[in-house]
Symmetry: C2
Subunit: 269 residues, 2 copies
């Protein structure tokens, strides 16, 4: 048992990293957290891909039932977020809701939340863009067509994945704040000049981005192949690893940087 | 894109296996589904282990707030199950709720559910036992002590894992029905004699059980190690693989067989 606890602590999750760094997130601790979030995102992609598209989940016109307005997914996520809000999810500034309107307050036991972020940028919420991107672009890339009737399970898998993607992208606020604190002298004049281009250049570390894209492809291979005792079936994966690397390269990394940029532009307000 | 779709179909999830086998689950298709469920369970274990114990989630006495009776987790799961029920989760006979009392009916689009199970055993629900086992025995085995304040996220991870474990164990009903249909002559006299011991002997395939226990340990190693481009860090895992194999050996496999047995004892009613 002791051995087990030690291994858990050695592989301290990003939540632990955050906790340890609560007084002071650093660029390194934020980066370690993003690495751990990759696993969560890939697990969630694999779990969503268990189900085919299941388009009735997203159909805005299916409901003759007055109880539900919008799609089944809207109903599902709006109501689940309300429960999670009551349970305190959004007292953690790392969590951003998709439907922030009229969320009930937390009734969970008090726990002091991090005050690391600068207030003007803390509330950046691009979930509306993430929502559209997810349904119109991403989802069709990694799920098979078809309908197996598991609409509630599909909605639950969508929510888990959407939350993981959203957390990753909005984590850009913490990355940006950590970068700003490490070298304020680099950022301050660019922020005052509202020089988006130059700021984006500072925020872009091509070699690291390339490494992330390669690593998530490898993770998708490792987590998504069929593990058996006899032999490793290479070449068949639960989610195409090249789709996962594309997802990061084309959307997750750029959107995270956009959040970093928007955060920094508000940093001296 | 075509290559991707092919790989998804080749690795057809157990939902697909079930769909293909909807008219007739077989022992082989049920077994393939249990293998796929192992991945889901291990992902969920890893995701729950991201958080420490977070005991306020389970504290029955924390709420001075009248809105919530019982623990925060009770509130969370009871209400989330209600939403999922409305979204149609429990129209799929593979899904069994933890709080079946007063669940609202589904308003989801109609999809014909499998009528594979014999009605007398279809409603077997040992979730109360699974609940107790989970909180008193299993959880302390794979989470670190501590409190990081993420109670809602913890409850969400608990629910996902509890649902995965419950689905696996109650899948014993499908396994039992498939076994019964393949060789009714073996089962009928034993069922009539209510010979539990002999039935359990028929249901027990030691070599397969040993293989499952070994395979889940391997999967926990594969899915739970820190994947990096440079080198593989062996020996540190997000959830101790020996705990995962113990979980299967001591609880998941025996409880699944108990469900198989109870199902068969009702099979000729």
């Amino acid at each position: 048992m002791l051995r087990f606890l030690v291994s858990v602590l050695v592989l301290a999750s990003c939540k632990e990293v955050q906790k340890m760094a609560k007084a002071q997130y650093t660029v390194d601790s934020a980066r370690a957290c993003l690495v751990r979030q990759e696993d969560t995102i890939i697990f969630a992609l694999i779990e969503r891909a268990k189900f085919p598209l299941n388009s009735p989940t997203y159909n805005h016109t299916f409901t003759s039932i007055s109880q539900i307005q919008g799609s089944l997914l809207h109903f599902f996520i709006r109501n689940t977020e309300a429960i999670q809000s009551k349970a305190g999810r959004y007292t953690n500034p790392e969590e951003i809701p998709f439907f922030p309107e009229n969320l009930p307050p937390s009734v969970a036991p008090y726990y002091p939340s991090s005050e690391f972020l600068h207030s003007a940028g803390a509330l950046i919420n691009i979930n509306k863009d993430i929502w559209k991107l997810y349904f119109h672009v991403l989802l069709p890339m990694f799920v098979a067509s078809g309908d197996d009737g598991n609409y509630a399970q599909t909605a639950a898998a969508d929510l888990t994945l959407l939350q993981a993607i959203s957390r990753r992208i909005h984590y850009g606020r913490f990355v940006a704040e950590a970068k700003f604190r490490e070298t304020p002298q680099i950022f301050e004049s660019l922020i005052r000049a509202k020089d988006r281009k130059a700021l984006m250049k500072v925020l872009t570390l091509e070699s690291i981005e390339k490494m992330v894209v390669k690593r998530v492809e490898k993770k998708a291979m490792v987590f998504g192949h069929e593990v058996s005792l006899e032999h490793v079936k290479e070449g068949t994966y639960k989610v195409d690893p090249s789709v996962v690397s594309l997802l990061y390269q084309k959307w997750l990394i750029p959107l995270t940087k956009n959040v970093e940029l928007e955060y920094l532009l508000r940093r001296l307000d």
